[in-house]
Assembly symmetry: C2
Homo-oligomer: 228 residues x 2
DNA sequence: GCAAATATAATAGTATTACTATCACATACT
DNA sequence: AGTATGTGATAGTAATACTATTATATTTGC
């Protein structure tokens, strides 16, 4: 599996970058250290100037890779969802039983992220934290409809669609498969945020995982046999 | 009820403002038009200079009411949650049956907002839209822990706590009351956002309301009698 | 191994933002 | 009438979010 993964490149929408950061050492350093720096100071305080200083490179050089920090965020988040989608597909592909498949899917999207050595310049643990803290800022903008049309959220949408299809496989009668899938995906990020900053608003913690909560939530919604 | 409401003032944390905007005509105009302008151009593009131009007043005058636009957002969002909390308490207070109480609570937090004439300078419909599009930006910051300690999110937390308590009343055994309450509150905003911008990721629309979805979700999670 | 192409770095410059400070004027209150 | 308070106008600063230009490396193609 390691060998297989080494040859994999996560495909993100080419419009997120001007020049593919995977195509050069500087590009990879930009991505690597943007994750570290955004994690450290937050997306609002993050600037290309600061990143340039950090990697002993120049602001203008970074602008040759990314139009602006918003596009960089779109790149990072797309990469993350592409990476997670890969995990999802890999883990659920061979499972025949619909319930077991959905169970594993929920586990994949809600379990704590661990480092993946296949992508050495990307720290998936910190990137996951950036997703928790910054992802919604990538779509809560006035440009969301334009950018959606341009395909910047394709991978995320595909993730929701996949989970939604798994839900339908478990219960054809369930009336809200897309909503439940999007709630699980968005809700997971939210529950992790709450454990970090508003522990009184969640029951998730070191012992109780979001996976338990969402498994309970999803499976109790399904096969209620409302006609029976 | 109208009479009663007219004497009500929604109490927000005094630290959100330097001078109470309710205390003067200019203050009310600032609040009124900040809602219109943020709704129009989004929080990122919103500046005190633009707001000053809009109300034929001066940037510096607005700075006398609010330290910065982040604090103004905290003011607006606190006001909104305070207003919604009032609706919640008013609507559920006299209900004895725990299930019915919770049902009404879910309805209150998830139904479309309509104009409340009791607060003439505040357009609750547009404010609700600002909450949907901007609320998470008020806490997805590096300052969240400090600001949380300073009480800026008290009303929101109280809302979650109230709903969580109602959940417990319906099912003492349910292991995730806080998580379910926070999922319902945050999830509602998310589902409304999806209907507007990512309709393929939700089943909510003109016919199917978030209320139906979340009622189904919550009540099917409860009283599963896992020990039986 | 050298020229040409390309990538990167350095510098400068612009418009806007997010403020702070000062002063002038208007009104309100006593 | 005199003082306090609120508001408006102007100016100024540091930082941001870029763009443009030029210089200097580095790579590559022959």
């Amino acid at each position: 599996m390691k060998h297989l993964l080494q040859t994999i490149k996560i495909e993100v929408n080419k419009k997120t970058y001007l020049k593919d950061p995977e195509s050069s050492a500087l590009g990879k350093r930009i991505v690597e250290h943007s994750i570290l720096l955004i994690h450290e100071i937050g997306f609002e305080a993050f600037t290309f100037k600061k990143l340039g200083d950090r990697i002993s490179s120049n602001e203008s050089s970074i602008y040759r890779y990314f139009e602006n920090k918003h596009k960089l965020l779109l790149y990072l988040t797309s990469w993350y969802w592409g990476w997670l989608e890969y995990q999802l597909v890999f883990a659920t592909n061979s499972i025949a039983d619909p319930s077991e498949k959905l169970r594993i899917a929920i586990e994949i999207i809600s379990k704590p992220v661990v480092l993946d050595t296949s992508f050495s310049h990307i720290n998936e643990v910190l990137l996951n934290n950036i997703i928790i803290n910054e992802y919604s800022k990538s779509y809560l903008t006035k440009e969301v409809d334009t950018e959606n049309k341009e395909g910047y959220f394709e991978i995320y949408k595909r993730m929701v669609l996949r989970i939604s299809e798994m839900i339908i496989e478990v219960d054809q009668e369930y009336p809200f498969p897309s909503s439940l899938a999007s709630t699980a995906l968005d809700g997971t990020l939210h529950q992790y945020f709450l454990t970090q900053h508003f522990p009184s608003l969640t029951n998730c913690n070191k012992e109780v995982t979001p996976t338990e909560y969402f498994s309970h939530l999803v499976f109790n919604s399904l096969n209620k046999n409302t006609n029976g």
